[in-house]
Symmetry: C2
Subunit: 200 residues, 2 copies
DNA sequence: GTCTATATCGGGATAGAC
DNA sequence: GTCTATCCCGATATAGAC
């Protein structure tokens, strides 16, 4: 069962780390979630750190690459933008714990970041070039492409990462109200952005 | 020295919790930062939880109330918006650890939230009413005021909370480049928002 | 490969000397 | 009010039986 057990451990560690973070997770919690003894965790992954490293890489991979595909298609820019926002919000909304997990663990240990980026061959700067191109062609107003792209990311990610807070502040602590709010954003956000960057 | 010691402990706990979070902080770390023995911490605040509670409330207070004042002044709306964005980004930028801390701890223990809100008498919903008023008067386009306000917050907060990630992705890991990027946002963000909500 | 038992350490918390 | 010494527990990690 060697091959299988490793996957079970990874799944259990994935879920537990994602929910409670590195510091909030014990090997015992993971062992319980995996339905086995914690000694086995050390047998497959020598230390908590190594196990976390494996999990972090897999979660991080779900966060960045989906960004790039849609933006590189051949459709009109505003259409690409709408698709991008729609799918990215949808994606994050289905994995709502991911953003806060990434941000928190990245702050806890910034070093592990650059290594992962470089070894994965991911380069989000291609998106900046795409945005720049639209500006040069006169399709949208001129601005620092990084400002624009980070605006887009902010509008997609933050409201989901901040759910525990926003739900209490503005939505009577109701999960349903918040879910429908996020659902609306899939169209609302691209409308907002397009208004902001459309040429007069 | 009773009065003084309590303040020293609070300061040390504030800094340590803010930097490492509840799970990442030990009483020993706080005692070291305060230059005293950890038994004293328990003498003043019976438990780690109680000490954290005190710190959390004080940090949380710095995050929400500044929101309300500026928005309620008598100036023209776009001017208020510019001031709001400028000061709020500036405020967060001077306390860059606060947003991620709040979001992470709120997710870890959502219960402590509603109690604090209610006991503090803070009601951010007044801002929603102000935004609604501008829409009714025809000064800006119609939309759900919560969408608009959360857009504003996203654009102000997220780029600072996500610094460890963005710095690595787009700014060659340079603190200086990132600082000047955030500095630009103080004007850039309100420009972006006003474009998005200005009537055609 | 999987378990039990154990070693070792650091955590929060308290007792008691001063 | 502040310290040292200590208790007790849970953490990571390993040894060794099966």
């Amino acid at each position: 069962m060697s091959e299988n057990t490793e996957q079970i451990i990874l799944k259990a560690a994935h879920d537990t780390f994602l929910e409670h973070g590195f510091d909030g997770t014990s090997m015992q919690m993971i062992a319980d979630a995996a339905g086995m003894n914690k000694a086995l965790l050390h047998y497959y992954f020598r230390s908590k750190d190594k196990l976390f490293q494996a999990v972090f890489i897999s979660i991080f991979g779900k966060f960045i690459p989906p960004l790039i595909g849609i933006m590189s298609s051949e459709r009109p820019f505003f259409e690409r933008l709408e698709l991008f926002v729609f799918h990215y919000i949808d994606n994050i909304n289905k994995n709502p714990l991911v953003p806060l997990f990434i941000l928190h663990e990245l702050k806890r240990n910034p070093d592990q970041f650059l290594n992962i980026i470089k070894s994965s061959g991911i380069d989000p700067k291609v998106i900046l070039a795409l945005l720049k191109k639209e500006m040069d062609e006169g399709n949208i107003i001129e601005m620092d492409p990084r400002q624009l792209f980070i605006n887009i990311l902010s509008l997609c990610i933050f409201p989901i990462a901040a759910k525990p807070m926003m739900k209490g502040l503005f939505f009577n602590d109701s999960d349903e109200e918040y879910a429908s709010f996020i659902e609306s954003r899939k169209k609302e956000v691209s409308r907002f952005i397009i208004n902001a960057i459309r040429k007069p």
